[in-house]
């Protein structure tokens, strides 16, 4: 059997997303390669969440193409995952939430529990596997969402402000797991409003403004010397951190 071709790079070609006559994503062309962690920055309403959903296939572009290196096979398990700002968990145990995802991913029944336990250990939640997922704290819920991702071992993970409503301690925990996922070979694409976090986790920055991709810059250079005046203004407004 041949190893499946990599999903990456993901290339967007003149992707446009409109609602009515409003253009929310305006002709974005970009290619996301395996490896560097990509952080998407931009002011509120810039279109960051919509862009992530277009990439992940939750929205279909009005025009343009979102293409993976090797097309996902319809009906087979997905090799990409997404973590939302508010974790979405089913009314069952923490462990049950992970085994459910593994079932959808086509993992044989006999292996599911073991893999789910391993993922819970990875995020430090092994003690509470039997607890109901929806009564966990916000930070624990988001870690559980990441454990679910860990169990799936996707090639690429999209994160939309995963720590926006968490305290600094919980945020740090989440960042650790994201770093571990990246170290294990998962491509990270993350939206955040936390510039410190963008600094810590980002290798390259995509800067979005009013639905347009204004720049794509290595993280160090972006924070010192952004190319676009809009990005400079954005950094000034958001600073200090």
């Amino acid at each position: 059997m041949r190893a499946p071709l990599s999903l990456l790079p993901l290339s967007l070609d003149k992707v446009v997303f409109e609602v009515g006559s409003r253009r929310i994503i305006d002709a974005i062309s970009v290619s996301l390669e395996a490896g560097p962690r990509t952080v998407v920055l931009g002011p509120n309403g810039a279109g960051k969440s919509v862009l992530l959903r277009l990439c992940h296939g939750l929205l279909a572009p009005t025009s343009g193409v979102v293409a993976w290196n090797s097309a996902e096979i319809a009906g087979s398990s997905r090799r990409q995952a997404m973590v939302f700002q508010r974790p979405v968990l089913l009314r069952r145990s923490a462990l049950g939430n992970i085994t459910y995802a593994l079932k959808l991913a086509g993992v044989p029944f006999a292996q599911r529990k073991e893999r789910a336990m391993e993922a819970l250990r990875k995020v430090g939640l092994e003690e509470i596997g039997a607890h109901s997922a929806r009564v966990l704290s916000g930070g624990e819920q988001q870690r559980l969402a990441l454990a679910r991702v860990w169990a799936l071992r996707p090639e690429i993970l999209f994160l939309d402000e995963p720590t926006a409503s968490l305290d600094p301690g919980a945020t740090q925990e989440i960042e650790k797991v994201i770093a571990a996922l990246h170290a294990a070979g998962t491509k990270i694409v993350m939206v955040t409003h936390n510039l410190g976090q963008a600094h810590r986790l980002g290798d390259e920055i995509l800067f979005l403004h009013q639905g347009r991709l204004l720049e794509r810059t290595p993280a160090d250079r972006f924070f010192k010397n952004p190319a676009s005046p809009e990005a400079a203004q954005f950094l000034e407004g958001e600073l200090p951190w």
Binding site: R53, H56, G57, L58, S77, R78, A81, M82, F84, V88, L90, R91, R92, Y100, A101, L104, A105, S132, A133, R134, V135
Partner: protein
Amino acid sequence: MNSFSEAAGQTFSLLASADAKLVDIVLLSLRMSITAALIGGVIGLPLGAVIAVNEFRGRRTLIVILNALMGLPSVVVGLLVYLLLSRAGPLGSWGILFTPTAIIIAQTILIMPTLAALSRQVIGDAWHEYREQLRSLGETKLGAAPTLLWDLKFSLVTIVLAGFGRAISEVGAVMIVGGNIDGVTRVMTTTIALETSKGDLPLALGLGFILLFIVLALNAAAYVVNDTAQRRYG
């Protein structure tokens, strides 16, 4: 006033002695209403789930119709089922008019729209919350319906309990299609109606108390189920 206290005394002794006739009527009512609630649930909940998670032409119209059918006048349902099942009707050859089966059919038709409409509401709200995450995990719409039904099982149980409550309190349709035959299709509500009109208040009152008690117990059970599930599962 005097007759009332007299009736109350006789009612009490009826209840205390677990009068055989009274017990039979209660058991018959329970059996039919439970059957109707179960059949209504088996059809109504998946129907609600399918309407909640799918987009298809005529969906809005279907939802409006279902909501309207929730307020379906019971005697009209009785009349329609009567016409269907009467000897000259399309299903007359089944020969089930004036049998418990006819009552169960009428009760099921009566409560099914309520079960479907309420479950569509509950499942639709959850679907709104889960949709992107489930799609992200690769769930299909076909698979989402059972996932949601299982996830919301406690809310759905209380919906079925509400359906059972309506079925057992039903009188108009049950009277028409059951014929109120002693020992066969005479249930609590129709007995109360009949005995009251005959002036036999003790039996009517006794059954009235029991019916009231059942409805109260149902609501208490629904509350407890919901409250416990809320605290335990969020």
